[in-house]
């Protein structure tokens, strides 16, 4: 008996290796595909051959263009067979080959026939295949069938049509948008998945119409959505609407919050989780709003399913960053997750605890982390490192154990991103915790002794050069730095030379030793290393005398490099090697306009739902940088305000010009942004001639022409004025754009040598009081108002005459004054007959201004306004009234 048993086992071993596709070859399968052409089709055999072809494709095999075409034509023959199994494989094959446009025509009629078949499965699949391979022209022909299919009673057919609609919307939006009515009907479908697909498509059709989305959400949140997946979508759309509607904290109640909260009691886990996550991601979520969401997430923490635990702990981890107190209730459940089998869950639990924990629990947690740090993925290690960094900044007293931990993991194996995260963390700790500096620097020194990443080595060497000389015993770092000169690649050696030079420059006592080391570097095999050594030896006094380092040299070694690299590069390229040395001072510090414009254009679309809307970039910074690059503006002081651009030309004129008014204490700078919209022209020496005869108090200081303005690449020219210090000065300026036009040959893009002078009349520009006011909000208007007292108040009443509506009047006055509306008072409730609006801001000379506006309807259309201003300076009060009186 034993004998055959053993034999059977052997057989089984062989079988384990058995695969129906063993030894399969593309060539022979393509041969086999000839059966598709047989007059008497063997459906079973054909199916097998298609499976083999699909297997090959799935394994990564590719067909040449000819092979693919042959297979495709052969497969189309199989539409003759009525075998349903085979037909399914044919559909799959066509989708997999994705035929070219001229090939598609061959199958179109067969697929259209199937689309109208009585068999639901044919209809559903034919729709999916056809929509996948079709182009716009064919779509118009089948549109009618697709619209019908969307409302088909068979859910599979309806879903197929809806999904196809979602895909087609990317390529043929105008056609799909016509299906709105049918899709709307499908949203009410009884079939769960149809509802889901219909909702997804409907939202995508309407996503650019905020009002429509808001309406959709309003109607659907009242019930009638059954499918959990559709419910998840609805939650996402709802939070989008909430986000876009802005914070309506005035009433205290957030719109739709009740709906999200009710979803926490849904029977499907995915809906509960989606709702909980949506609540935690609300803008400025309050702890009262958070509580119910945290409670359900806490329940998930003790679930038997790893997916639920992971989802919950990941969300709570994010909440802990902003609302650590809200998560502390879950600490006990979190602690038990530290030993979770799933390391991802354990990591997230630990980092959450690090964020919510107190000083006493740090050491215990650190011990637990050390144990499992080695068997988690780099991504999670980075998460842990970041958590530890913020923890260290929170509890600076604990730096010793945390710094030790960081240095330990720095020694272990790890990828670049992980190591970079650790190094960054140590650098931040050194900067922010003075006590940690020496220990941290030594850890970094040890790390570069054995660091495989050139980038990190050079970063650390640079950092050592800045921080090392400031320590109590700079000499101990020299050895580490000089070792690099021996042992590393050229890039690191060069950067080590720079670091040595910095030590030499900053610490006079070390100079003789540094000189010796630098002289040795003169024999390096690499040009850059030798050049640097020579340069530094000469700058810090290579004659061997120990003198105090010049200020210039220090500036050179430690000062910031404020010349745009692009400019330096072009200057160097243009430099002609001659007797005259290259002068770096001649390089323009002016940032080329192109990068700035590009930066504005790449307004990144918020990715995913969780991403908060990206606020407008702070342009003040950009302006300040740009102005400081103009040497003449250097002594203007701090930029007080830059206005929004004011258009000086009509839209679609030859030259588009707008102006930004930059207000300084004693100066005003107009920045004219010019765009040349004529491809055949190149403008040179562009300048704006400003006539300030209607602005007596301003006197022209200088004007900075724009050297060249090619087609469609915006450039700037500036005009600066002097004005009385610290007071608002008003005036009207008329502008003429002057330039030299050169014809450009459109084929070569080269400009002719001779140009013609020309002028272009721009619109007038005014400097008004609003230009001297900064929008600055106050957190508590009433307190601020009371603290200024009625002594510094000036009240007056104004009639604003007939207005379209109260809201329009309020809007106009706010814009006129250029102040920041407070506490949401810029919104006028519909149908109200009176309104109070609170504004605040800072007037030039740093005077705080508060304004209380009371509006009332006087008669059917006439608006009356009472304006109360409080500030520390009476003249400012008068100025504000002046704005309104003259506006």
């Amino acid at each position: 008996m034993a004998q055959p048993l053993v034999k059977k086992d052997d057989d089984r071993d062989d079988e384990a290796e058995y695969s129906p596709f063993l030894g399969i070859e593309k060539g022979s399968v393509l041969q086999e595909a000839r059966v598709f052409n047989d007059p008497q089709l063997d459906a079973r055999r054909c199916s097998q051959v298609i499976t083999k072809l699909l297997y090959l494709l799935n394994q990564g095999e590719t067909f040449t263009k000819v092979e693919a075409t042959e297979v495709f034509f052969a497969v189309t023959k199989l539409f003759q067979s009525k075998d349903m199994g085979l037909r399914r494989m044919v559909y799959l094959m066509i989708k997999e080959i994705s035929p070219s446009a001229d090939e598609v025509i061959i199958v179109t009629s067969s697929l259209m026939k199937d689309m109208n078949s009585k068999i639901d499965m044919y209809r559903a699949n034919a729709i999916r295949v056809l929509c996948r391979i079709t182009d716009g022209t064919l779509l118009a022909q089948i549109e009618r069938y697709l619209k019908q299919a969307i409302v088909d009673k068979n859910p599979v057919v309806a879903s197929a049509a809806l999904i196809s609609g979602i895909h087609l919307l990317q390529t043929n939006p105008e056609i799909v948008k016509r299906w709105s009515n049918e899709v709307q009907e499908a949203v009410q479908s009884r079939a769960a998945l149809v509802q889901f697909h219909a909702l997804a498509l409907l939202h995508q059709i309407r996503q650019n119409d905020r009002l429509a989305v808001s309406k959709l959400v309003t109607s659907l949140t009242r019930g009638s959505v059954r499918s959990p997946l559709a419910q998840c979508l609805l939650i996402r759309y709802t939070s989008q609407v909430i986000r876009e509607s802005g914070n309506n904290t005035q009433s205290g109640e957030r719109p739709f919050y009740d709906y999200l909260e009710s979803c926490l009691r849904h029977k499907s886990e995915m809906v509960i989780f989606e709702a909980a996550r949506a609540i935690t991601e609300l803008n400025g979520v309050t702890s009262r709003e958070l509580t119910p969401a945290i409670t359900v997430l806490q329940l998930f923490l003790s679930s038997s399913k790893p997916v639920l635990r992971f989802a919950a702990v990941r969300t709570l981890n994010k909440v802990a960053m902003t609302h650590p107190m809200a998560v502390t209730n879950c600490n006990i459940d979190m602690e038990s997750l530290i030993s979770d089998q799933n390391r991802s869950i354990a990591t997230l639990a630990i980092t959450t605890l690090l964020k919510t924990g107190n000083e006493s629990s740090v050491d215990r947690l650190m011990k637990q982390i050390t144990n499992f740090m080695s068997d988690i993925a780099d991504e999670f290690k980075i998460v842990v490192v970041e958590a530890i960094r913020s923890l260290c900044l929170k509890f600076p007293l604990k730096y010793r154990s945390l710094m030790n931990f960081l240095s330990n993991i720095l020694r272990e194996e790890g990828g670049f991103d992980y190591k970079k995260a650790i190094v960054d963390s140590i650098v931040i700790l050194i900067r922010d915790i003075p006590d940690a500096k020496e220990a941290g620097l030594l850890h970094l020194c040890e790390f570069i002794e054995d660091c495989e990443f050139t980038y990190l080595s050079t970063q650390i060497l640079h950092f050592l050069g800045i921080e090392g000389p400031k320590t109590s015993d700079p000499s101990k770092y020299i050895r580490y730095v000089y070792n690099r000169v021996h042992l590393e690649n050229a890039v690191v050696r060069a950067s080590a030379v720079s670091t040595l030079a910095k030590f030499g420059a900053a610490v006079d006592a070390l100079k003789p030793r540094i000189f010796v080391l630098l002289r040795r570097c003169l024999f390096d095999s690499d040009d850059e290393v030798r050049d640097r050594a020579t340069l530094y030896l000469n700058t810090i006094g290579g004659d061997g005398s120990v003198v105090e380092t010049d200020k210039d040299v220090k500036d050179f070694l430690f000062g910031p490099f404020d010349i745009p690299l692009v400019n330096l590069e072009t200057s160097l390229k243009n430099y002609d090697p001659s007797e005259e040395a290259f002068d770096i001072k001649a390089v323009s510090k002016e940032v080329k306009s192109q990068p700035l414009a590009e930066k504005k254009a790449t307004g990144k679309k918020p990715t995913g739902l969780g991403a908060p809307p990206i606020g407008p970039p702070s342009t003040v910074d950009a302006y300040e940088r740009m102005l400081s690059a103009i040497p003449e503006c250097a002594n203007f002081g701090k930029l007080f305000k830059s206005s929004a651009p004011v258009e000086l030309t009509e839209a679609e004129t030859e030259y588009a010009v707008n102006v930004v008014k930059h207000i300084f204490d004693r100066h005003v700078v107009f920045q004219y942004n010019c765009t040349n919209t004529i491809p055949e022209q190149l403008l040179e020496d562009v300048v704006v001639i400003v006539d300030a005869s209607e602005a007596d108090e301003f006197s022209v200081l200088f004007s900075k022409p724009l050297r060249s303005l090619p087609y469609d690449s915006p450039g700037q020219t500036f005009v600066a004025f002097e004005k009385p210090e610290g007071v608002p000065t008003f005036g009207k300026f008329s502008n003429i754009l002057k330039f030299i036009v050169k014809e450009v040959d459109p084929t070569t893009g080269e400009a002719e040598d001779d140009g013609v002078e020309d002028e272009y009349q721009l619109e007038d520009l005014e400097v008004v009081a609003a230009d001297y006011v900064l929008k600055v909000g106050v957190s508590n208007f009433r307190n601020a108002w009371e603290s200024l007292g009625p002594d510094c108040e000036r009240v007056d009443e104004y009639g604003l005459g007939p207005r379209e509506s109260l809201a329009e009047a309020v809007y106009t006055v706010i814009n006129l004054l250029g102040l920041q509306p407070c506490e949401g008072t810029e919104e006028v409730p519909p149908n109200s007959r009176s309104h109070q609006c609170l504004l605040s801001g800072v007037f030039i000379g740093n005077v705080k201004v508060l304004v209380r506006l009371s509006f009332g309807l006087d008669g059917p259309k006439d608006v009356a306004m009472k304006l109360a201003v409080r500030s520390e300076d009476e003249t400012v009060n008068d100025a504000i009234h002046e704005i309104v009186a003259s506006g």
Binding site: E15, A16, Y18, S19, S47, I50, T51, L54, Y55, N58, Q59, G60, K82, D83, M84, G85, R87, R88, M89, L92, K95, K118, I119, M121, R132, V156, I163, I166, H167, Q170, L193, H197, A200, H203, Q204, L229, L233, R236, Y237, M270, F273, E274, R277, K305, P306, V307, F310, A311, R314, Q341, N342, S344, A377, E379, F380, T607, G608, L609, G610, A611
Partner: protein, 180 residues
């Protein structure tokens, strides 16, 4: 495929064997444009998960900013990948649907050999779960039914049905006539 913002989307579904080799895979996103990048991803995911115990409950991990939900049975490893801001539970429901459907289609013999022998069913199954990243269906039995529906359709002419089906249809006719 283009990513459809605010709609759950699946980046890929993988079915690998116990050596991390492909049985059947389907990619819906452009994150892995070439076959070699796909293979590298599969290797990476496999090596990161192979030591975990994902036999009773589906497991989850976060690798290279993707959420990966996975489950192992015999010598088969099932994976579903989604973006890192995806609802984990939605992804898990896709994996569960795939897993249930395969179990039904392979009549509980869920192993590599059976899967390869019925590769046509597995490929159809992938086709019925996700279309271009959009979730089509997550209910296992329904997916399995859609894959096999061609053998149960009563509208096709008798000549094309298998013997058992023909018999079933005949019996149905008979009962109907008898009940009249």
């Amino acid at each position: 495929m283009a990513s459809y913002s605010s709609c759950p989307s699946i980046k890929n579904i993988l079915l690998l064997d116990s050596d991390g080799k492909r049985v059947a895979v389907k990619y819906f996103s452009d994150d892995w444009p070439t076959n070699s990048s796909k293979v590298a991803f599969e290797k990476f995911v496999f090596s990161k998960t192979v030591k975990t115990n994902a036999r009773t409950e589906a497991e989850i991990t976060l690798l290279e900013n993707n959420i990966i939900i996975y489950k192992f049975v015999q010598d088969l490893h099932f994976f579903v990948t989604g973006g890192d801001d995806e609802n984990e539970i939605v992804l898990a429901s896709v994996l569960q649907g795939f897993f249930d459907a395969v179990t039904l289609l392979l009549r509980n013999n869920v192993d590599k050999r059976e899967a390869l022998e019925n590769l046509d069913l597995i490929l159809l199954c992938l086709d019925e779960i996700v279309d271009g990243g959009m979730i089509l269906e997550t209910n296992g039995p329904l997916i399995a039914e859609k894959v096999t529906s061609h053998s149960m359709d009563a509208d096709s002419p008798l000549s094309e049905q298998t013997l058992t089906q023909a018999w079933a249809t005949a019996r149905e006719h008979l009962t109907r006539t008898l009940l009249k």
